[in-house]
Symmetry: D3
Subunit: 324 residues, 6 copies
């Protein structure tokens, strides 16, 4: 097969077109028809969405050659079924990831990650409580972790679902906190800032985001809330081994913020907010997530209607018309 041409995005493919490009293949399954013919069902994805793919004259050799998941060069054509397109695959072959432009396959924040991380460090650097500062510093100095922290998405679907989304969300929450904290002097700012910095750290382990966003097995079994809690204890253990003590009640206060930051049992928090700081982190998290979700839906709406499509998680359509 020849080199793939410039990438045609999934959401640009119309019905009845020739398809010849690189996509991420996910969850390929080899099936056989009653006549004994083998075919492969699969998803073909890039950062703009995914389509069903079907390779009708398949073989076990082809199936075994496929990465699960991974980049593949696909040749075939598109067929329209209802509103969804399907790709009938004629040829499919694994391709070296080094030859693809990963950003075509994973959405990426439009903001500058280096700059955002720098500002996160500055904000976290204002924490004066020695143990909280030490704990946060241990995270900031963990280079492998910070690399993941800068790459992980903020979520699977709801908000900040892009490479760098976790950083963007955390960065923006810290900015909101810095703006709002002076208005609530009874609230312990150090706890709020550390709580925000660490509250979603477990998403680096809950989500996989090398070729397409998905949950890891571990992430689906344990969840990012519990993973974040485990991470601060692991870091505190490591600090203790270096002679830096993090008191249990410090870990409990920051752990409580992490456990309670979804604000309600039904959203997976095993504890309801019980400190002023936990309430503040919960509200800032929810505010930033919803503002991102709402503005993304308004900006991403393709029709010219004054209203977006129905937003199931918000139980409403959104009104897009601005004041004149």
């Amino acid at each position: 097969m020849a080199q793939p041409p410039a990438h045609k995005f999934v959401n640009e493919i119309g019905p009845g077109e020739v398809v010849n490009g690189v996509y991420v293949v996910r969850e390929p399954i080899l099936r056989s028809t009653t006549r004994g013919d083998l075919y492969i069902a699969m998803f073909l994805c890039d950062r703009t969405g995914q389509l069903n793919g079907r390779m009708w004259q398949a073989s076990e050799v082809v199936y075994k050659s496929l990465p699960k998941p991974g980049f593949v060069h696909v040749q075939g054509r598109s067929e329209l079924y209802q509103n969804n397109l399907q790709i009938v695959v004629n040829n499919i072959a694994a391709i070296d990831p080094s030859k693809v432009n990963v950003e075509d396959y994973l959405a990426r924040t439009t903001k500058d990650c280096g700059q955002m991380l720098k500002e996160v460090k500055e904000t976290v650097g204002t924490i004066r409580h020695p143990q909280l500062a030490a704990l946060c510093k241990a995270f900031l100095e963990d280079k492998a972790l910070m690399q993941n922290f800068c790459s992980a998405p903020g979520g699977m679907k709801m908000h900040h679902d892009c490479i760098g989304g976790l950083l963007e969300h955390t960065h923006n929450m810290l900015n909101v906190a810095q703006a709002v904290l002076p208005l609530y002097p009874q609230v312990q700012a150090d706890l709020v800032l550390a709580g925000i910095f660490l509250h979603d750290m477990g998403k680096t382990e809950e989500l996989a985001y090398d070729m397409a966003f998905s949950y890891t097995d571990s992430g689906q079994l344990i969840g990012h809330i519990s993973k974040s809690l485990l991470m601060i204890h692991r870091k505190a253990d490591a600090l203790r081994a270096q002679g830096v003590q993090i008191n249990p009640d410090i870990l409990d206060s920051i752990g409580h913020i992490i456990l309670a930051h979804h604000g309600a049992y039904e959203f997976g928090s095993p504890k309801l907010p019980a400190t002023a700081e936990a309430f503040m982190v919960y509200y800032i998290d929810d505010l930033d997530a919803k503002m991102n979700q709402v503005t993304a839906a308004i900006e991403g709406e393709l029709s010219e209607s004054n209203w977006t499509a129905w937003q199931n998680t918000l139980q409403t359509r959104l009104y897009r018309k601005r004041l004149e």
Copy 2:
């Protein structure tokens, strides 16, 4: 009866004490025992709480002389029933409100109302959209209304339940909005600021707060949300009569913010937030209300426990211990 002595607050009365002071009497009822004796059941209140009162040897003359509600000079003694005290009343007589220190009977914000109103005017003055600015100006220039706006409580029980509480809550929400809006440039700041200024304006009509906080009949039948909506339409009608047009879609956008600001049907919003601005006002309202409720509960706890009493609306006790 002699002049009342310095006020002894309801929450300072111990069991078995002599009571001799001015209180607000509420909901007095004349009842008769089977022997034909008349007695009066009533509530006796000041800003720190209320107690049951019982006058056992009562007459219809005394009952008719009582304000319903109003200030009365009470002589009697306290009896303890379980955790609640009850006051057995020997003498009771209406007293001229001009002779009492109203602030003993209604809690008042500790902040400077004149200064807060001045800052509210400045913030609202930054609104550039001409029609929104005109609408808000019409409220700010309504002196009788603004007097109520500066006196009304923010709520009956949950948060900002003091004279000036509505102003304090609105003022703080405007400050939060000004701090946060630059971080969300897609959100129309003028709508958010006008929405916050007007969102609870109906509380001036929903609540009575001359001698003790209560709902007006009208407030209980209609609610402050619908009352606020009616008020902006009434003001727009008045402006129109003066030749200032407020377009229907402006009224709908601000009206939607008002209707949706409780965020959920179960909290009495007949519409769910469907604009970025309605979401932001809802979140800022909830944040400020909860921070006030949480910090008030933490600061108001009398025991030395690390935890407050159970907070029913939050479904948790609150942890009060601060970082060391």
Copy 3:
């Protein structure tokens, strides 16, 4: 293009048929494929339903010529995708509404609207309370409003979703009230009758029903409950300007009925019923709506089964077999 033939209804179109007729086009969108070809996605509707339409070889000129929404003459053919049909459009052109039979596009009540309005007037005419009678009379004498009142549907989907449905629903509720009120003498009949007459008046503004049923922007932002409340206040203001006083407590009593008539927060009532009259209006509204919904589903079922299809809002299938 030639004149359109007799109308072929949307629910009569089979797969693989030639389509040549007038439909209402809604929400057309111009999109481009990756090859630069333009196509238009749209809905094509009449009173029996709507189908997806696709015009593959489209141009911006065609797109701009389309009403949004409006009547169009469509030529093309039908294709079946799963259970839904789609219309592939070859030609599409706006058509003068005066040339179409509007009733093909909007379902209409089978009852006599003139007769129903006459009976509504008679029933409302029995109200003896002078202020309630004056308020209702102001509505009945508003000719433009009454025209809308006779045309508006009772709802979008659930019940009485036809031209004249609002009138039919109100008319029937008044009949039920007249039958039932003598059995509950404690209930104030005047309030119940006025409350029923006015409870859904805001639907004339909430819904658009000129070519197809839809929500207006204003209706979706504010809702018919709040709109009905605004309308009675507007009418009371107008009466006051004419020297006819409607007391605030009258407006609150009727306003409360309007706000509470959905009976529960989750159905969009910002107030729960708190008067005997509000309870009665809520029950009569719910009874009439559900009886209409149930009998329509039973009569409209196409299969020969003893059971209708699953009714999602009722969480059951309905049993159609009658006693023998």
Copy 4:
């Protein structure tokens, strides 16, 4: 002990009074203090309510002599604890029920039971469907059952909680149905009338109402809904033994109405309404129950307030002021 004087009702007893009269004793318990002194805790009731009773110097002989429950002559005095009174009992002795005026102890409908039963028979007599008519007739001719039907309360607390309440409720529902059915001609009137007549028949077995209202063991384990279903099957079996066939689908249609008449799973209906007739019986039942509950609460309110006390099952206070 001397003969008891004229009855002093529970809700007329004030604090510190002498008590000397007949009451119903319920759930007496013999307990011993650490000093070995025995005392009896009990409830003392009549139709107006119940009070805690305590007999401090009690003996096992006295305890064993008490009916459980039953009528007792009580001598003692009342003490006030908070808002509730308690009766300190000096003497207590069982008394022959024939000597008491039962109506002092059980509230009784104010309507004429004979007249109501006559009208119920007339209405049920209009049923033309032979099998439904035969089934209803079998109930009407069961004299022992009809006697219970005329005595049983409509419920424990919520509505029609008086002797004759079941009859009053059934009678009123039949009147509502007769008034409303002509407006819904698709609905099978015979099924609705038979369904109403039989829907709560199981309450005759669910509730005990000889001296005070309570649940029977069987009623609490099985419930009146399932008991009503069992009763129609039992009657159909008896008819079959007499050669009168009631078809299974008739029993299923009427049985479904019985099972579904609470309208929702959460209120104990094991089936949701799935026929037009089941919906109508459910709505008429709910309407009549709520109108009874609301008007009883409004009329029973003792204070002069415009509002009743909080009604927990309605989640509101009720507004009592009538139009002027």
Copy 5:
């Protein structure tokens, strides 16, 4: 038409294949296109699932010849619409059930029904309480009923949805009870064993399972819970006619277990568990149903993923990987 070939299962049919075999036809509907052409829509099923069928050139004669439901010989071809296949039918004809292998059309438990019934009898035979033993014996000796008991499915979709499923579920629950009862000596074993044996007996009447699983009309109107209750009363009546008395409180205790065994109102239980025995039967029923549902989903998953597809009733995907 020739004899049908060996059966090709619904879940083995690929797109674009020739279809020539026997299937169960369900809910056929005759419809007409606007050109007057008649077509038949139907479902075609076997034990592995169902597909939409369409016969485009149909006639009323063909339609009338179809069993509703019943076995038919179908000739046509498959077309893929999205993930679902549809069968375009060229010829269809009823076929004598005696000529088909019923087990191809209804899934059947893999366990030995004779052996299971034998063990059920042995376990039930350990009941020592004479009346409970007599009641169970009356069921075991009802041969027609026991035949149904051995054939009925355990449910429509959720668990044990196969011929023999009710027996398998009851058998396994009895085994669990025998294993667990010794650990809870306060629980009355006889009641638990009889309750388990009888709790779902009404499913023999609620479900139809001769050609495909469906609800009977009676089953859908009344439900298996109420039907089970009716059955024990009917059997007790029959025993009484034979001189064997089953006391009412025995019937109430066993009836309560039946009514409460879904454990919550929302799952159709009209009574919540109120005895230790009712709690135990509820838990064992739920445990056995969920373990069957979970293991069936894990074993039935076709993909190679570590996770099954989303399980809607469990609100999760299931993890399939076993320990290594």
Copy 6:
């Protein structure tokens, strides 16, 4: 003060008695009346319950001398307020814990803890999977932890609320699992047994149980579910330091069981069961907890009624009568 006499239990104290004994004092608060008199409010507890205590003539010296909480010798008398007693304290003094019989103050399981722990060890010893066995062994060999495991209660109020309750609950669950596992051969027995053994281990840290049951600060902030998860990771870290590897997926499988064992978000599980083993542990936990709660309520009922008092968490009264 003289030595205290034999203990008089809280639930044996009648009204108007002399009190002279040792109790646990909890949450004492020093308050002052308006006359400047100091008094102390406190709870006085033993294993049978707690009472309010009031010392009216108190001093700061006395207040400071009190343990918070701890054992005190109390002299005073009891007063009855409604159904609750209150103790008026004349003298109060801390007492050396070594002089009290701790079992008077904390309820203790009636089973043999040594024997139960031995059987737990045997059952856990049947685990064959090497890593699971190693993980469990690390817990069993942690003597300090096992001492707590044998002392901790199973809960605060709902079930197994006694010293040794956690062990009794775990022991019984293991027995149920061993009885039931052979009936579900697809379920991985090793995971279930290890999951049961470890699922509530965090209760040793969540609850304090030296003088009276209460939550620790850390327990209330973090909860036993998250604490159990942290404990297995801590033990795995320690094993790794000794060269024994526990694979991450083992920790995830056992961690998932711990996180999901409450079965629903609303009961504090941050993850829903997603493995067959997690479902089984959840059901066995719920079964054992409810059987304990139900039988304890039935056996603990003091009245002679066939029914217990209302059980709020079960939303029913419980029927106590056994088969005759």
